[in-house]
């Protein structure tokens, strides 16, 4: 027994890696289960229901893949297909395993960055007598396990269905799982190396911010790329025959290591052991070797401090002389003169923090990209006057008016998306620094007004820009354009009031990442109500116009009636909800 074990009740530290990894993973699992166990009854039931639904989904995928792939393999169908069905079947595992590897490589980067540098438990773990390699491996597994689960939810049932439809050998199934695990570990190992390289050149927190921004921008851009391409091409063909052939050709390339596993599994499943087994074993061995090498290198870089050079970001700005600084501080911006000083301070602070934190910008980028996409679609779309062919006789003019104005609804949609993010989380964004505002002598009204302005003005600007584009594309009359501007501005004001009020009710100040400021049930209710409010409020604006047209009354009267009715509804929605939550604002952040 070592000297360490001399004290009563103390055992010598176990230097073996697997038991230590198991211990750390068990601790993580215990924390997760403890969270579920201590959750409220509703949340616990919800977790169970989600689990059952996921299981049902997986079973559904297995059955569907089994049936569909059985159909693809059938000789009856083969005579109608222009491509080789065996080639299609053989490409499926290759494509799915490649997708798994790439998905884990890309998505685990953020998780590993957070687990290794931002969670703050690394110092505690490394100070304990647990092998550093065990800590690293446990962190890697803990990070990629949820991503692996998610990707497997879609890929594993399809691959099981593939095996069932082809009557594959039973060995196919365990080897399939083993291959997926090995590829996941290899991708995670490479990702950890990437993390080490990135934090070498920039602070981890900044890297996480940039990653969040890029992730959101790329995701939304990719999701809209199809729409844009179709709009620019002018046809609706989604996937051409040559694209499928290209994909199949890529999947059959023999020198790509990622193809070996898929091909090997098919060969093995179909009973060609001599060609299949070496390919699968080679892939698994190579993947585990990559994982081991990458993890060992990353661990060494972490431990030697090579990957921890940039702890803080210091911007080297030119130092201002005290006179210049004082002059800059003393000069109030022109807009500030029109607002009470505390209100201006709150607005300016929000603008600065929103602009500087890329994680905030990543939330705001979605509506901006969608706005650009819709603008493009509008420019490419039909420029003729809407509603021309839809109705005849007495209904033609009311329908034309309704459709002309309803296209403005698109600008409200874009404005709503921006408002939902800015107004819904307006109070939550204060986070743990809210004490500074709460301890200051500020009126509740000023605080609400500042939050309202920060949310409303950017959404208004975006919606206005979009309305202008719609007016140009649709060749709106000036009166219709002015009416549209007023209607969308007022509708957005009402929406801002509703979302801000629910933002107060759902305020959460305890987050560490601004993307986690979501407001739970009350926040969701606010979003739903705001969504229901839009057609009601906008209907109040344009309904009287259509009615006036239908009854052959002067359209000016219809516009005036719409403006009065719509304004009443919109302004009521802007002010009444905020009035109702006014007292709640004074009691925010008072939980122990």
């Amino acid at each position: 027994m070592s000297a360490l074990a001399d004290a009563p009740g103390r055992r010598a530290p176990d230097g073996r890696i697997p038991p230590a990894v198991w211990k750390l993973l068990r601790l993580r699992a215990r924390i997760t289960f403890s969270g579920v166990r201590r959750a409220k009854g509703r949340a616990r039931i919800g977790t169970v229901i989600v689990g059952l639904l996921l299981l049902a989904f997986a079973v559904f995928l297995v059955v569907m893949s089994w049936l569909l792939l059985g159909l693809v393999r059938s000789p009856e169908l083969a005579q109608y297909l222009t491509i080789d069905s065996a080639q299609v079947v053989a490409a499926i595992p290759v494509l799915l395993l490649t997708a798994l590897f790439v998905a884990i490589l890309l998505t685990s980067f953020g998780g590993l960055l957070s687990a290794l540098y931002l969670t703050g438990d690394m110092d505690f773990l490394l100070a304990t007598p647990v092998p550093i390699r065990a800590v690293f491996v446990a962190k890697l597994i803990g990070t990629v396990a949820p991503v692996f689960g998610l990707v497997s939810l879609f890929s594993l049932p399809v691959l099981v269905g593939l095996g069932l439809s082809g009557g594959y050998s039973p060995l196919y199934y365990p080897l399939l799982l083993l291959t997926m695990v090995a590829l996941t570990l290899a991708a995670a190992g490479l990702s950890s190396l990437l993390v080490m390289l990135v934090v070498r050149v920039m602070p981890p927190r900044r890297a996480a911010e940039i990653l969040a921004f890029l992730g959101a921008t790329i995701a939304i851009s990719l999701s809209q790329a199809g729409n844009v391409m179709n709009a620019l091409r002018g046809d609706e063909t989604s996937v051409s025959g040559s694209q499928v052939s290209g994909l199949l050709l890529g999947a059959s390339t023999p020198w790509l290591p990622l193809n070996w596993a898929g091909r090997g599994l098919i060969e093995l499943g179909e009973g060609r052991w001599l060609t299949g087994l070496p390919l699968v074993v080679l892939t698994i061995g190579l993947a585990l070797a990559v994982f081991w090498l990458a993890a060992a290198t990353a661990e060494r870089w972490y431990y030697t401090g090579w990957a921890g050079m940039r702890v803080v970001a210091r911007k080297s700005r030119p130092t201002r002389s005290p006179q210049v600084a004082a002059g800059m501080d003393a000069a109030p911006p022109r807009l500030a003169r029109w607002l009470p000083q505390p209100l201006w301070g709150l607005v300016w602070r929000d603008v600065l923090t929103l602009r500087r934190d890329l994680r905030n910008l990543s939330q705001l980028v979605t509506p901006l990209i969608l706005g650009v996409v819709y603008t493009l679609l509008l420019f490419r779309g039909d420029r003729s006057s809407p509603g021309g062919d839809l109705a005849a006789g007495d209904l033609a003019e009311p329908v034309r008016l309704l459709l002309a104005y309803s296209s403005v609804g698109m600008s409200l949609f874009v404005g709503w998306m921006l408002l939902a993010r800015l107004a819904g989380s307006a109070f939550s964004r204060e986070g743990k620094s809210y004490w500074l505002v709460k301890a200051a002598p500020i009126r509740t009204g000023q605080l609400l007004a500042a939050k309202f302005l920060v949310a409303y003005v950017p959404a208004l600007a975006l919606a206005m820009a979009f309305t202008v584009v719609i007016a140009i594309v649709r060749q709106m009359a000036v009166a219709e354009f002015v009416f549209s501007l007023a209607a969308s501005a007022l509708c957005l004001a009402g929406m801002a009031g509703i979302l801000l009020a629910f933002g107060v009710l759902s305020a959460n100040f305890t987050w560490d990442d601004p993307r986690r400021t979501g407001g739970g049930a009350m926040g969701c209710l606010g979003q739903v109500l705001a969504m229901l409010y839009v057609p009601v409020a906008f209907g109040c604006f344009i309904g009287p116009i259509a009615l006036a047209s239908l009854l052959h009354l002067p359209l000016v009267d219809g516009h005036l009636a719409g403006l009065v009715l719509g304004s009443a509804v919109a302004l009521g929605s802007a002010f009444v909800p905020l009035r109702l939550v006014r007292d709640r604002v004074a009691r925010l952040d008072e939980t122990p």
């Binding site: 927190r205 803080v312 970001a313 210091r314 911007k315 700005r317 130092t319 201002r320 005290p322 600084a325 004082a326 002059g327 800059m328 501080d329 003393a330 000069a331 109030p332 009470p340 000083q341 505390p342 201006w344 301070g345 709150l346 300016w348 602070r349 600065l352 923090t353 500087r356 934190d357 986070g431 743990k432 620094s433 004490w435 500074l436 505002v437 709460k438 301890a439 200051a440 002598p441 500020i442 009126r443 004074a586 009691r587 952040d589 008072e590 122990p592």
Partner: protein
């Protein structure tokens, strides 16, 4: 004795069934440094938060500079400055921007605020990093920024929750000197601390809270009278009042 700048009367704070603060009443006068001591979880921070208007008392009243915090919160808050135990500040603002923001919140004249900002940044040794964002600051620098923010409007009442935690000796000394000077100029200074030597040396009077109840208030001499020992240190008095005198025996067992 000048008028009390902090006056708490029968303060009670309940969270459901749990009573965090129970019937606490004390005064802090202008010109004095008042130490607020107590074990972990005794109710110090809850009491302090009620004084600065961050928490509403369940019952009882707090008056700051003559203003009822519940009835006239703006006037009470305008007169007070607060330094929390953890310096949670807006990470994406620089110290200069944060102080300018605080100046706006307290409606300070912009020219005066600009001079005050430079003065405070120099005083707290933050001038070189004044334009860097706060997320690049060390804990001590954030603590000093938080102190600068509390002093920005030159408050008549300043309440500090563990002000010296995370500060280097030079900065800790600076804080102590500033607080003493503020008290000498007639301000009321209330601070909570676990470092009893600081309390003993700095504070004119001390209040000890335990399990939500104020169990002793007075000068060092008055507290010694409670302990019936003329030579007792504040640590001895604190431990005897809060039931911590048996810790030495416990420490013996652990060795």
């Amino acid at each position: 004795m000048p008028d009390a700048l902090i006056q708490t009367r029968n303060l009670v704070k309940r969270y459901g069934d749990k009573i965090a603060v129970n019937d606490v009443s004390f005064d802090v006068h202008g010109g004095e440094v008042f130490g607020f001591l107590g074990p972990n979880g005794a109710g110090k921070t809850t009491t302090i938060k009620m004084i600065v208007g961050l928490l509403q008392p369940t019952t009882g009243t707090v008056r700051v500079a003559g203003h009822d915090v519940g009835a006239e919160p703006l006037a009470a808050k305008a007169a007070s400055g607060y330094v929390p135990d953890t310096p949670n500040l807006y990470a994406k603002l620089s110290a200069r921007e944060l102080l300018r923001f605080v100046a706006d919140l307290y409606s300070l004249d912009r020219g005066h605020a600009a001079r005050r900002i430079d003065e405070l940044l120099r005083m707290f040794d933050l001038a070189a990093a004044a334009d860097d964002t706060i997320d690049s600051y060390s804990h001590g620098m954030q603590q000093k920024t938080s102190l600068a923010a509390a002093l920005m409007h030159d408050p008549r009442v300043i309440v500090l929750d563990e002000p010296t935690v995370g500060l280097d000796p030079k900065s800790a000394r600076l804080i102590k000197d500033i607080l003493r000077q503020m008290a000498d100029r007639g301000s009321a200074v209330m601070l909570s601390t676990h470092i009893l030597e600081i309390a003993e040396r700095m504070c004119d009077r001390v209040g000890i809270i335990n399990r939500g109840e104020l169990i002793a208030v007075g000068t060092m001499d008055e507290l010694r009278a409670i302990d019936s020992s003329a030579q007792a240190s504040l640590e001895d008095i604190f431990l005897s009042l809060t039931g911590g005198a048996d810790v030495a025996e416990l420490a013996q067992v652990l060795q």
